[in-house]
């Protein structure tokens, strides 16, 4: 339940913790040395055990699936070799940490390793005098139970939906795709988490904590048509039906000759017309609703199912989110036929009804209403009431959230509302008269009212058009802030620069980090530390030709390859790598001597201000002037010369550049002489 940033809230420990974090990030495989090293750090800083545990949990949660196992080994090594207080801190979140990783890991071998790991936690540390197990049984057992249930569920699932869509054929259970974006967890997995896993809460994220978007549930299962008033059931129903229709359409497209699908589609379309016409009223509406729900539950999940409102990963992804290719949303089945987790269907309704009439029910009342609350303390129930009272609408989700918040369900369940969604959503098609629960189950798959719709809109398309007017100045537009921050989640920790979460953005960032590394290295080098000086400013022509580009994100290769097609660099910036052993050369145009120099950036000897001219090395500026005088008149140069009327030859005053070594005097004096050919 690391709810706060390890950096922000524990500034005393933050140094050690962030050191620890850095080393953790470097851990890519099962490296005994590194793991021992990390264990030693943990051992030596037990006073910061809490911060370190938090960092470790966060790391396990956020790192790429392939790195989870090594990180878990670190956890294992720490608890076995150091023991308390780490066992205490890590034990608290162990369920989450472990189950989440298990869910994200796709590889049967790794899973088996994790199973084995779990087994050792039930036993005493090998060779230790202490006979107590590594973690106490009440920590390990829930994990084991959850694993067993989950595995059974997976098996059932495979049996049920064998002939389904392509992604189903993978032998491995559905997974998180290595992304930390919990909100898009498919329903099946949620079902298993519903037993009591703690979902990773995005808000816990250090960077996100300040302004994170809505709770994940709001982002899930958004139907194609946004519904304004979920308690008005007709629009809800309509939305539901139309989502059903689109899914059936997709299915129909996949297998157009399946009479079953054809029938279903026809029926549902009819139903839709009826409902839209308003010809369905009263009790029959309820019947329609329940049949729709049942129908939807029976439908296989579809990739083409109503997904338009899914958030693109950009919005959810973290600055250090591991790369991932597969789409995070695979199975948007709103309704699950998964067996109920821990509360009987309708059980909550009683409680809800109690709470809904405004007064605070007594504890016994609540206990009778919900058997699961039987052995819950009075204080906790009180806080349930308070939380519920605070929530304006009384739907199941809120109630569950309230329960979660007050810790009633903490032992067996998570801390965030989304853990409970599947519970509500997976209720079997209820009896016709239990409208409430029906509504609730539908509500839980719809965004609750009042969710700012802007937040779930794709960030890119949300680029606002702002007219040029005084009135438009005053309105605060969060989307503008978002375009500068959240849309570019990938931040450089050195200079604060942001990058897009796209492939390109990641590539740029890694180049950018390399650039930082290189320059830092050069700045730290005692040989380059001294004797730096300001360069001369550039002249007009050079400045005009110079295309502003960011050297920190431009590859060296691109720069090398660019010599030919380069307008963006002046000719004096081009160079030719010196052939081995050649240190001197005569410019084939002006016949002046050229000497090679060592270029720091290229780590090689080069002729500065050089280009190949008819196969021989010549001054790049000489070549450029010849080219210029034989056509290709630079309009700009002419314009400037006219306007200024100065005696200066355009392009000749290039006294100094990083690679050019020609003296300013020579450039100035020799600007005419260089045109003499041979």
């Amino acid at each position: 339940m690391a709810a706060r940033s390890p950096r922000g809230s524990f500034s005393a420990a933050s140094d050690i913790a962030s050191d620890f974090e850095e080393s953790l990030k470097d851990l890519q495989r099962n490296d005994r040395f590194a793991i021992e090293n990390l264990t030693n750090i943990a051992r030596e800083s037990t006073e910061h055990a809490q911060a370190i545990s938090r960092v470790l949990e966060n790391h396990i949660r956020t790192t790429a699936p392939s790195r989870k196992l090594p990180a878990l080994y670190v956890l294992d090594s720490i608890v076995k070799n150091v023991g308390t207080p780490y066992t205490v801190y890590l034990g608290r979140g162990l369920f989450t940490t472990f189950m989440e990783s298990y869910g994200m890991i796709n590889d049967p071998l790794t899973r088996r390793a994790m199973d084995n790991l779990l087994k050792t936690w039930k036993e005493p540390v090998p060779g230790s005098m202490d006979h107590r197990p590594v973690f106490s049984l009440d920590v390990v057992r829930p994990i084991e139970n959850a694993l067993i249930q989950w595995k059974t569920a997976i098996l059932q699932k495979q049996r049920q939906v064998q002939p389904q869509a392509a992604y189903k054929s993978t032998p491995t259970p559905p997974q998180f795709n290595g992304q930390y974006a919990v909100p898009v967890v498919p329903a099946q997995q949620q079902a298993f988490y519903g037993h009591g896993s703690q979902q990773p809460v995005p808000q816990q994220h250090p960077l996100q904590s300040i302004y994170q978007a809505p709770t994940p549930i709001e982002q899930q299962y958004a139907p194609p048509t946004p519904v304004q008033h979920p308690h008005v059931d007709v629009p809800v129903l309509q939305a539901d039906i139309s989502s059903l229709v689109s899914r059936l359409h997709a299915q129909f497209a996949a297998s157009p000759y399946d009479p079953d699908v054809q029938n279903k589609l026809k029926t549902v379309l009819q139903l839709q017309t009826m409902v839209n016409n308003g010809s369905v009223v009263g009790p029959s509406l309820q019947a329609v609703r329940s049949s729709v729900t049942a129908f939807a539950a029976g439908l296989p999940p579809q990739l083409q199912a109503p997904t338009p409102q899914w958030q693109p990963p950009v919005q959810l992804s973290q600055p250090y989110q591991p790369p991932q290719n597969t789409a995070p949303y695979m199975q948007p089945t709103p309704v699950q036929s998964q067996p109920l987790a821990f509360l009987a269907p309708g059980a909550l309704n009683g409680l809800q009804a109690l709470l809904a009439n405004g007064q605070k029910p007594s504890t016994p009342q609540m206990r009778t209403a919900v058997p699961a609350l039987q052995d819950v303390s009075h204080a906790q129930l009180n806080s349930v009431q308070n939380n519920v009272a605070a929530a304006p609408t009384s739907n199941t989700t809120d109630l569950l959230a309230a329960l979660a918040k007050s810790g009633v369900l903490a032992g067996m369940s998570g801390t965030t509302p989304q853990s409970y969604v599947p519970v509500a959503a997976s209720a079997p098609p209820p009896q016709a008269n239990s409208t409430v629960s029906l509504l609730q189950s539908l509500q839980s798959i719809l965004p609750p009212p009042g969710v700012p719709s802007g937040l779930s809109a794709p960030p890119k398309s949300a680029k606002p058009r702002i007219p040029f007017s005084a009135a438009a100045l005053k309105v605060f537009r969060p989307e503008l802030v978002r375009s500068l921050y959240d849309d570019q989640p990938n931040q450089c920790s050195t200079c604060g620069r942001r990058f897009l979460a796209t492939q390109d953005g990641r590539a740029k960032k890694s180049r950018h980090l390399d650039w930082h590394f290189r320059t830092n290295q050069r700045m730290a080098d005692p040989n380059t530390g001294r004797g730096q000086h300001r360069n001369w400013f550039v002249d007009e022509m050079e400045w005009i030709r110079l295309t502003a580009f960011d050297p920190s994100t431009t590859t060296a290769d691109a720069a090398t390859a660019a010599t030919a097609a380069k307008k963006e660099r002046g000719p004096q910036d081009s160079y030719v790598r010196a052939p081995a052993g050649v240190t001197r050369n005569t410019c084939s145009i002006c016949q002046e001597e050229m000497r090679s120099s060592y270029a720091e950036e290229l780590q090689d000897w080069v002729f500065g201000n050089a280009a190949l001219w008819n196969g021989r090395i010549a001054h790049a500026t000489c070549g450029a002037e010849i080219r210029k005088s034989t056509g290709q008149p630079a309009m700009v140069a002419a314009a400037l010369a006219l306007a200024g009327g100065e005696g200066q030859r355009p392009g000749s005053g290039t006294p100094d550049s990083m690679l050019g070594k020609r003296k300013a005097e020579a450039a100035l004096a020799g600007s005419g002489a260089r045109l003499k050919m041979g």
């Binding site: 503008l480 502003a548 306007a643 100065e646 300013a664």
Partner: protein, 491 residues
């Protein structure tokens, strides 16, 4: 003639004690470190003096200084800065050091306006990719013009644009010492501490460098020599426009022109400065942002926001002055200028630079003295070279005349022999040869600045501090009365 590496006192010191850091003789008094929690859309305003260190660290959340985002857990030295750390989402700051004043403020409507201005510019950029916004910001002194441009430019860069910023205020340099008018196309991220970043140096820099184009206007106000100012503006506009024509993305990203406060004043009848009209037409401005009084905005809208004949209408937008803008007194401005000059030669704490000393006989150097307008007519009657050096005493203020167009005399410059009066002042090296005619010298771009370290009239030698070890050849040198002498540059 160049004597690179001639020993200069103070050069071998640690970066921490370079002049850029101010005098470090005072041992740091006990530093109080405190943390501040800022709610969303509030800011931390501070005024710090040049001498005492003031460090800021972002512990959590997000924050920016004039549009440039702070990295988490990086220390930023903000001594000698009047500014505000703004947060859109809320943040936690750790502050070390003494400030003259500091407080958290939540009246930050200005930031919304600025951000919306950025949004409007982005809209223009995407709607008219072939013809980006060319914005002129006008207003009197201390209204936040430069901060606005800095923020909007930084956001533009963050949005992936490469805006071009033009500074037309000779009192503060942009990537260059004062007395320069500069233009720079921002292709890479801007910097928190230095604002626009670093001009090119020979060595590695912690941030990508920005390459500016510099012209030299050695007067404090455009009205000191309106003719020269307008000529330089024309020249700068031509170069800038040419650059934008060459570079499609830069053109789409647009232009942002910062003007000195004196152009934001209206005369008694509400007429706008004629120089301002000149700038608007030369830079083909298509967006005017006024930070000045309502009166200025009204005059501008009357003149520009309705189409007149062949001219297209230019929208005029009035933006309120931010609450945090403090009056920057002349002492502060003077220190700012002196710091800019120091940084030009010595670099900043992160990138320390070594200037080079060049000792040159009087005979080998051609220096043109830039004449103030009022004395231009006066001295021409005297005509004696010896007398004039007193007229250009940099310690006295230049007489300011608002009369425009009276400078019919062509004498912008005249050759002067080095004199003690030049000591500690700045001299611009122009790209043009020393024997060019007057208008060429006037319009030529600046290759670099020299600092007159010492004039030995007895041995007829002048010692320059140059940023670069190389000589500058036979180029024209221009000396003006602006900026004022910085005596303690070489101590």
């Amino acid at each position: 003639m160049a004597l690179p590496g001639l020993s200069l006192p103070g050069l071998g010191l640690q970066p921490a004690s370079t002049p850029a850091q101010g005098n470090s003789f005072a041992p740091p008094i006990e530093q109080v470190t405190r943390t501040e929690n800022l709610p969303a859309r509030s800011e931390w305003r501070f005024e710090t003096s040049f001498g005492s260190p003031y460090n800021l660290r972002l512990l959590g959340g997000h924050a920016e200084l004039f549009g440039v985002e702070l990295a988490t857990n990086q220390p930023y030295d903000l001594s000698g800065v009047q500014g505000a750390i703004f947060t859109w989402q809320g943040c936690q700051l750790e502050i070390t050091g003494e400030a003259e004043s500091e407080y958290a403020a939540e009246e930050t409507e200005y930031a919304t306006e600025w951000l919306n201005l950025h949004g409007m510019l982005e809209t223009l950029r995407s709607e008219r990719p072939s013809d980006g916004p060319r914005m002129l910001v006008v207003g009197s002194d201390n209204t936040g013009k430069s901060s606005l441009i800095r923020s909007v430019a930084a956001w533009g860069v963050k949005a992936g644009r490469t805006p071009t910023v033009v500074n037309l205020d000779p009192r503060q340099g942009l990537l260059a010492p004062p007395s320069s008018l500069s233009a720079v196309t921002l292709g890479s991220q801007m910097e928190v501490e230095t604002g626009f970043g670093i001009a090119p140096t020979s060595g590695p820099t912690s941030m990508p460098v920005k390459t500016p184009l510099i012209y030299h206007y050695p007067y404090a106000s455009p009205t000191d020599r309106p003719d020269v100012y307008k000529a330089l503006a024309t020249r700068l506009a031509l170069s800038t426009t040419s650059k934008l024509e060459e570079d499609v993305t830069a053109k789409q990203s647009g232009l942002m022109v910062d003007t000195p406060g004196s152009l934001g004043l209206t005369d008694g009848k509400g007429n706008i400065s004629e120089i301002l009209h000149h700038l608007i037409s030369e830079f083909s401005i298509n967006v005017i942002v006024s930070l000045g009084p309502e009166r200025l905005t009204n005059s501008l809208s009357k003149r520009y926001s309705t189409a007149k004949g062949h001219e297209e209408a230019i929208p005029v937008l009035r933006i309120a002055k931010p609450g945090g803008v403090a009056e920057r007194g002349e002492p502060h401005m003077k220190q700012l200028r002196s710091r800019q000059i120091k940084q030009y030669f010595f670099g900043s704490a992160n990138e320390s630079l070594n200037p080079h000393s060049h000792s040159i006989p009087f005979d080998n150097v051609v220096i043109y003295g830039a004449k103030p307008l009022a004395s231009a007519t006066e001295t021409s009657s005297y005509g004696a070279a010896e007398e004039e050096e007193d007229d250009y005493d940099p310690y006295t203020d230049n007489p300011t005349t608002t009369a425009s167009g009276s400078g019919t005399s062509n004498a912008f410059f005249e050759k002067v022999t080095p004199s003690v009066a030049m000591t500690a002042s700045l001299i611009a090296i122009k790209f043009c040869p020393a024997n060019s005619d007057e208008s060429t010298i006037r319009d030529s771009a600046v290759m670099g600045f020299l600092y007159v370290a010492d004039v030995d009239e007895g041995r007829k030698k002048v010692r320059f501090l140059a940023p670069h070890p190389q000589g500058w050849g036979n180029r024209a040198l221009v000396w003006g009365g602006w900026p004022e002498a910085v005596v303690d540059l070489v101590t």
